[in-house]
Amino acid sequence: MASVKERGQVLILFTLLISTIIISISVLHAQNILAGMETSRTMMMFPKEEIRNLKDLAGIAVKKMPPAKWGEYSSDIYDQVRVLYSQKGVYGDLIISESGSKVILNFISGDVEYSETMNCAGGECK
């Protein structure tokens, strides 16, 4: 009877040990499954295209700038771009200054903030 009892106790002890190890490994395993999530999220969330579009808009806006009243035109473009980007849930603006030789771009989303002053002399933004 005694030996049976002893074996049972050892069994219980080993069971406890193994289960502890399995639990901790399973936690690690769960983390391992998550690996790659941040990368893919970043790839998906980074507003590359929105910013590119804003740059393209700057080029188009400068090319289409009228020979006179560019201040008024600049103000209109600024308002339109703000409205356009607000519909995407982000902030974007485009300020044409120095008679079109400079364009200031601003973009703010939850994760990314961007600002650039572009040289647009000769009607081409660089």
Binding site: T39, P67, E116, T117, N119, K126
Partner: protein, 890 residues
């Protein structure tokens, strides 16, 4: 003990021993299993997670490189678990062996991972750095890049040709840097000539001949002259530098022919893709303004001496005068201030006075005081900051007395002494502040007395306050004087000082009459809207003082202008022209005109040429004595000028004939009622005193054309006109049409408007410079190639600046993607500066150099009639990528 008990103890011990052995075994097994099962798994998980975080950062860096704002920033959040398992870690950028990595390391260092960023990181980013810990609340990547604005150096030296020992002006004002900058100009041998910081951009220095000029400069032994290069170096606080060079002609003597100096430069010389830059092409007429440089002139100065050139009194001077100066002073009136306690309902009688005489307000000692004015008008009292009205009247039997003086008051002014009085009844019991300003340019003893009465019916006064102080006024004195040598007996007709009403109502002013030694009061005139100080027959060379004394507490500033008679101004300008712009070998003549014209005989030594002389003094003496009066007979003036120039064409053959006509009014004509007093050739009549502009044009312009078509030797007569005074007074259209200067490109206008004395002197000076030609038929052709674009916007256009008398035009055309720029100048005169500024932008990308305009050329005819061509230098501009692009993790 029973055997059963013994067995039980034995089993117990056995059990404990066995359990102990088992426990040790389990512990050893557990440790081994932890190591084999858990840690190996943890390392894999950490490796995977580190890869994830590194990949995320790498992906963002790639995105940033893709967007790459060349002049701006991009900030992106980085997400990472605060721990992996229970391992905390740090993330950062590291450079190893020339390669850039993202590294992640557990904070104890047992796990470490590197992820290469590839070659693009080295190419795209100047710097990549930073570190962050996983436990930080937020993590971000920051990309920054800035377009660097490089400094620009532009050196201009004026004049461009000098005799050794003369001064030149070093002008670096067009140099630029967005930060603090300094400059130094070095001579041909590297020694420092001038230096300064950004606040001092012009300096005058002397240039001297030195022995090294012959070796270091382009030396011409036949003319003993050399073209030397001065170098400007600009340094800014960022450590960037820029430089520019400018040529200067240094000669030991004046026998150097005028020529054209050409300079081409870009500003800035280092640019970035898309950044506009300026291309400057500068042409300067380089030479000496001396007789050797030009043909002699025969100049007839025709001066309008009609009645409007003269003003015999102040009312006429309001209309006919010429400004010759301005002044402005800040004022700080001396204010005496006292406080006094007053009681509600008890009338307060305030007296401000002096027992001293005030000669500036005395009719016997000061001129031009208006009737009704008295020394009492010098005093102004303020009660609690408000000016006390001068309405109080208190006759002597009810007025208070103090110190033997009865303070009788009529309309706010004391009758027994100099001062003012004011009575009012306080509405409340309080402390009043009394302030006094006395507008008197001399120090006086000032008394302030405050009396109180019990009631309005009670005339027993109780003295509340007695204050005595020495009042020293703060006032401005403006001194000016007329130059001697320009008018008859060195006397000027009048001096007229005008102080506009906004200043004049807060001051009193006096002007010193040098003839009487007394001061003259400056009166207010509503028709001119201000205060006028006026003295006549003013001797030249002596200071005329104007005292401006504040009369109001808030007089803080005064500005005004100085005026003289129009004829006096015309005399100064004409004499300066003859003395300073004409050479000793030039012939000079003088015609003046009003109702009739008058030719002056200036050459008594020659029976063959009486009306022209090379003796400047002979003409100057005549000009000094011109007296104004009469109408404005243009046609006769022109006829007289023609007669002067055609008196003896043989003697003046080879000279360039020139008529300078100065007039301040519209041409008049023979009025039917004026009868025979009006001198005129031809049918020059009309029914009014001033002719209709078209009628006048119909008469005057053909007469002017007759002159312009008259040849003296091989030279046609030129006419330059000056419209003097307010434009509405004279007929600018006629003066423009009358003028005409014969150039290689035809007859061009030679008209100058002048309102002030300085403008009139400049007009004469400009006419003088016209005949100092450095080059003619100048044509500049430059082609902007396809790799550059002409930057065209409403506000930014190709710009041609002409500083001087050159007559130039600019045009540009687009041909097969290139732009052809063309500047034509019929003449360029000595010291003229013509600058063409084109704003260009490069279409090329990347580093390297951009070639700016090959094949540009300037052709011109030099003063010897030789056709010359100069190739414009080709410039190479350094094209740089945006610098300072960097990524930082934090």
């Amino acid at each position: 003990m029973r055997s059963g008990d013994n067995r039980g103890v034995s089993m117990m011990v056995e059990y404990l021993i066995l359990l102990g052995i088992l426990s040790v075994f389990v512990a050893v097994a557990a440790l081994s299993l932890e190591d084999t099962l858990r840690k190996s798994q943890v390392s894999k998980v950490v490796d995977n997670q580190f890869s994830d975080v590194a990949s995320q950062i790498s992906a963002q860096v790639v995105d940033m490189a893709t967007l790459y704002p060349s002049n701006g920033y991009l900030r992106a959040k980085v997400y990472m678990p605060s721990s992996i398992g229970d391992i905390k870690y740090i993330v950062g950028f590291e450079e190893r062996g020339g390669k850039r990595y993202i590294f992640i390391s557990s904070d104890r260092g047992e796990f470490r991972k590197y992820l290469s960023l590839g070659a693009f990181a080295n190419l795209k980013f100047e710097n990549i750095s930073g570190i962050t810990h996983s436990l930080k609340e937020k993590h971000e990547l920051l990309f920054t890049s800035a377009s660097i604005i490089y400094p620009t150096a532009v050196l201009k030296v004026r004049p461009s040709a000098i005799i050794s020992g003369s001064n030149v002006t070093i002008d670096v004002s067009e140099s630029y840097s967005p930060v603090d900058w300094w400059w130094v100009v070095k001579s041909w041998n590297g020694s420092e000539l001038a230096s300064g910081d950004m606040s001092v951009t012009k300096k005058e220095i002397g240039i001297y001949w030195s022995s090294d000029i012959e070796t270091l400069c382009k030396y011409n032994s036949s003319t003993e002259s050399a073209v030397c290069e001065l170098r400007l170096e600009v340094y800014d606080s960022r450590g960037f530098t820029a430089d520019d060079t400018e040529e200067i002609l240094i000669a030991k003597k004046v026998g150097v022919e005028p020529e054209l100096y050409i300079k081409k430069f870009a500003s800035p010389e280092t640019i970035q893709v898309g950044q506009p830059f300026e291309l400057h092409i500068r042409m300067v007429g380089r030479g000496f303004v001396v007789e050797e440089t030009r043909q002699n002139l025969s100049v007839v100065t025709v001066v309008d001496k009609s009645g409007s050139m003269h003003a015999g009194n102040v009312n006429e001077a309001h209309e006919e005068r010429t400004k010759f100066g301005e002044f402005m002073y800040s004022l700080n009136p001396n204010v005496v201030s006292v406080n006094v306690g007053v009681q509600k309902g008890k009338p307060v009688y305030i007296v401000v006075y002096t027992n001293q005489s005030m000669p500036f307000w005395s009719y016997s000692q000061t001129e031009n005081l208006p009737s009704g004015i008295s020394p009492d008008d010098a005093f102004t009292l303020y009660v609690n900051g408000q000016p006390a009205p001068k309405t109080t009247t208190r006759y002597s039997w009810r007025a208070p007395s103090y110190g033997g003086v009865n303070f009788e008051c009529v309309n706010g002014e004391l009758t027994q002494t100099n001062g003012i009085c004011y009575e009012t009844t306080p509405g409340t019991t309080e402390t009043w502040n009394l302030s006094v300003v006395v507008s008197n340019p001399e120090s006086i003893q000032l008394n302030i007395l405050v009396f109180e009465r019990e009631s309005s019916r009670n005339y027993n006064y109780r003295l509340l306050l007695s204050n005595q102080t020495q009042y020293n006024p703060n006032y401005a004195i403006h001194n000016f004087k007329f130059d001697p040598g320009y008018t008859s007996n060195d006397r000027y007709e009048f001096a007229y000082v005008f102080i506009p009403k906004n200043y004049g109502e807060k001051v009193n002013a006096w002007i010193k009459n040098l003839n009487t030694g007394r001061f003259s009061f400056c009166r207010d005139y509503t028709d001119v809207g201000g205060k006028v100080c006026f003295v006549q027959n003013v001797p030249a060379g002596q200071n005329v003082s104007v005292y401006i004394v504040p009369s109001k507490i808030d007089a803080s500033y005064v500005a005004g202008s100085l005026w003289m008679e129009k004829l006096d101004a015309a005399k100064i300008a004409a004499i300066k022209f003859i003395r300073e712009s004409l050479n000793e070998t030039d012939y000079k003549g003088l015609v003046d005109f009003s109702t009739c014209a008058n030719t002056y005989e200036v050459n008594s030594s020659s029976p063959y040429l009486r009306n022209l002389t090379t003796d400047s003094n002979a003409v100057v003496d005549k000009i000094k004595n011109i007296v104004a009066g009469g109408w404005t007979n243009y046609i006769e003036a022109l006829e007289h000028a023609k007669r002067v120039l055609t008196e003896n064409v043989t003697l003046i053959k080879g000279t360039k004939p020139l008529v300078i006509l100065l007039s301040d009014g519209m041409p008049t004509c023979r009025n039917v009622s004026s009868g025979s007093t009006y001198c005129s050739f031809g049918k020059y009549t009309c029914s009014d005193t001033a002719c209709n502009p078209d009628d006048c044009g119909g008469e005057v312009i053909p007469k002017a054309d007759e002159l312009k078509n008259t040849k003296i030797g091989d030279e046609y007569i030129d006419i330059c006109t000056i419209g003097f005074g307010e434009k509405s007074y004279y007929n600018e259209t006629i003066l423009r049409a009358v003028s005409g200067r014969h150039t290689s490109s035809g007859v061009v206008e030679c008209y100058y408007p002048a309102e002030t004395l300085d403008q009139l002197i400049d007009a004469f000076y400009s006419i003088g410079r016209i005949y100092k030609i450095a080059a003619t038929n100048v044509s500049l052709v430059d082609t902007i190639p396809v790799n550059l674009s002409l930057y065209l916007y409403p506000e930014v256009q190709p710009e041609l600046t002409v500083n001087g008398n050159a007559n130039c035009s600019l045009n540009w055309t687009f041909v097969n993607g290139s732009t052809l720029v063309n500047v034509n100048c019929s003449e360029i005169y000595i010291d003229d500066e013509i600058e063409l500024v084109l704003t260009l932008v490069t279409n090329e990308f990347g580093g390297g150099f951009v070639t700016v305009n090959e094949g540009g050329k300037i052709t011109f005819t030099d003063i010897n009639g030789q056709q010359r061509a100069i190739d414009l230098p080709m410039l190479r501009l350094e094209l740089k990528e945006a610098k300072g692009a960097e990524v930082k993790i934090s």
